[in-house]
Symmetry: C2
Amino acid sequence: MTEGQRADSAPPRGRRPSGRRPSGADTRAAIFEAARGEFAAKGFDATSMRGVAKIAGVDPALVHHYFAGKVELFTETIVAYVTPAVVVGAMVTGPREELGRRLVTGFFGFWDGPDARETFAALFRSAATNPALEAVIPAFLGREILPRLQAAYEIDHAEHRIGMVAAQLIGLALMRYVVRLPAVTAMSVAELASVVGPTMQRYLTGDLGPG
Amino acid sequence: MTEGQRADSAPPRGRRPSGRRPSGADTRAAIFEAARGEFAAKGFDATSMRGVAKIAGVDPALVHHYFAGKVELFTETIVAYVTPAVVVGAMVTGPREELGRRLVTGFFGFWDGPDARETFAALFRSAATNPALEAVIPAFLGREILPRLQAAYEIDHAEHRIGMVAAQLIGLALMRYVVRLPAVTAMSVAELASVVGPTMQRYLTGDLGPG
């Protein structure tokens, strides 16, 4: 597909699209895929909107049309990469009492992928050094996780509970994909689900009051 | 204290000290304090052995005498900063069944300090971007935590258990001091102990087999 074809399929600059068009979704998907590759390979600082546009085969103006800036592109790229597989697939389908185990299985089943684990390490390093990117995690949890979880299950203090879940999962992923601590890398996804599933279940549905 | 005085108190270069001398310990402490400040303020890349020596008021050759390189200095600095307060004080004193809660209270009681929380964020950012520094966490756990824990309590699969504990604590500290996720920053140390203490206790002494 040439640059011209992709550019044709996008809404004119300055005017918002009146509805979702498959061609616009394709363009966004191409931008996300290019952005994920660039952020993972080069880090946040060395990635440019122009470079992403070039790899996606779209006009740079189109990247700016969809995304206000590089921080927004970074955030949306992670959301687009993670959301369908981890959240929709694993979390909100199934009984409430197996939520914790399913979440661990879905999370590490996804990030253990050969492409994904390098992406995690690279995105993590980008985020760790750019304070502007710290908002990615709260935005992801608040926009993508919280509403889906609350739509599927009755969960009190959901924001607090999701914060605890995120801290545990991100800490483990950090040890598994970035630090590569042998005690954590040696575990299979099934072992992680056995060990960490009960923690997740308690954080999501258990009693967290003073005990 | 002048540079000359400090340099005098160190063993001659190329010869190992035959015993621990208080003056040598003072010199190391001064280097650690200077290094912590430099790494925290400037990050790993912009910190130099020479700059640390200058702030500590010692001859640069002395820093090289004690530390093979910047990675070793970084590692030892974190160990010297964290070990006495967190490990010796909080972890191995008290009943085995309160180990989890005590560990959470000691860890966050220490890192919540006004100076410490900025240090955590800065050291974390340094480590996240320098793959050579990833060895800091395994080295710290293996050298400082594992032997002390095993000397104080009977713990099976200690390396595995400590890995799980580290993943949880570091994930939480990341959310509390770096990402500053409201759900995690809003909690007091006592609340963290109530919520996370049981997780730590299970990871350290509970049944982690398939269940």
